[in-house]
Amino acid sequence: MPKIINGSLVLAAVFTTIVLVSAHHSTTAEFDVTHKITISGTLTKVDWVNPHIVVFMDGKTEGAWKFESNPPAWFRRVGVSRADFAKAIGQPVTVEGNRAKDGSRYGYLLKITYADGNSLELVPPSSDR
């Protein structure tokens, strides 16, 4: 389930600084990029598919959540493989992202934090310069 942080879905009332330009579609056509949600739960599955990878989370009361993220080709080129996600299958994770505008339990993953505190996060390109 996603365990909801602070007892309820957190809709951060701050503008998400990353405005994604997806390789597949305009993110604003599908996701509310003005709010970031934070969901905790158990990672159950990782689909390493085009045009977006999909991370599945299991919830006890909220039901299943799915988060897509950048294309496999992007993750490959920044040095992240499926195994970097799949190693946490069955373990608790926290995902930050933008929720689908249609209100479904679907989002765009911006950050995943594992039980050991390690994390992967999408950041603006200028961050590495």
Binding site: S22, H25, N50, P51, A73, G79, L120, E121
Partner: protein, 267 residues
């Protein structure tokens, strides 16, 4: 005998000097032509983001090199032809182009994992150059196509079926490999902004070396829909040490969640 035996070397040296004058130093000569063989930078549009890793207290950030997906100013690329920012369609077809572009996520096959075709797929990830043919290998979200392009002077096939990547034949014009492709299916676009074409489309791709980089420039001609041929901006593609990898299957899952028809910005 000495002169005769030295002649091939002299010819090669003369050609190399000529190539250097035209487009910068060329490091490899193969069969009298610049050797375009090699693995080249991934050129498909990807999100312009970086990854930030936190690993046991250490932070690292890594971005992508998207340079191969960007057009360069022809004046800055030796050997490049003048380019135009967009194709000029016949007046009666311009509304159709705009309508397709305005509803791209509904009308573009590429959005639904369709093959981009030539030239939308861009330059190949790997080139294998042989005396009488050149092989192009690609990595694409829709799959990993290949093209085998004869360079032995044969004409286009007369009995082929229309395809996404066309019937291609190549020839050398000086130091430039010129690939002419015809006989396309008419459902692809040659650019993201609704650039549809007819079955008469002819694509000319030019490849040459600029130092260790590959330069790729495309001209699209389609007299049924365009007022004149469209030459795109050249793309300068760096060599890559990253081997090709089979692309994961493509399964479109977002269309039902879109609340408008914004462009997806693939390529």
């Amino acid at each position: 005998m000495k002169l005769r035996s030295a002649l091939p070397t002299l010819i090669v040296l003369a050609m190399a000097a000529s190539m250097a004058a035209q487009s910068g130093p060329v490091t490899n000569i193969k069969g009298g032509h610049p050797d375009l063989s090699g693995t080249w930078l991934f050129s498909i549009g990807l999100p312009p983001l970086a990854i930030k890793k936190q690993t046991n207290g250490a932070t690292s950030i890594k971005g992508i090199d998207a340079s191969a997906n960007q057009g360069a100013a022809p004046a800055n690329v030796p050997g490049a032809r003048p380019s135009q920012p967009a194709p000029v369609y016949k007046p009666e077809l311009r509304a159709k182009v705009k309508d397709l572009a305005d509803h791209e996520s509904k009308t573009d096959e590429v959005f639904y994992c369709g093959k981009p075709g030539t030239p939308r797929i861009g330059p190949p990830r790997r080139i294998i150059q042989m005396p009488n043919e050149v092989v192009f290998l690609y990595e694409d979200i829709s799959g990993d196509p290949y093209r085998i392009i004869p360079t032995d002077g044969r004409p286009h096939k007369t009995d082929g079926n229309p395809t996404y990547y066309g019937d291609s034949v190549g020839r050398w014009e000086g130091n430039t490999l010129v690939v002419e492709a015809t006989n396309f299916v008419d459902s692809t676009w040659f650019g993201e902004d609704g650039y549809f074409h007819s079955d008469a489309m002819r694509v000319t791709e030019r490849f040459w070396k600029n130092g260790t980089n590959l330069v790729y420039q495309v001209t699209v001609d389609d007299p049924k829909v365009l007022m004149s041929p469209w030459t795109m901006a050249p793309r300068v593609v760096k060599p890559s040490t990253e081997p090709l990898e089979e692309s994961p299957k493509c399964t479109e899952a977002d269309a039902k969640l879109l609340v408008n028809d914004d462009h997806h910005g693939q390529r």
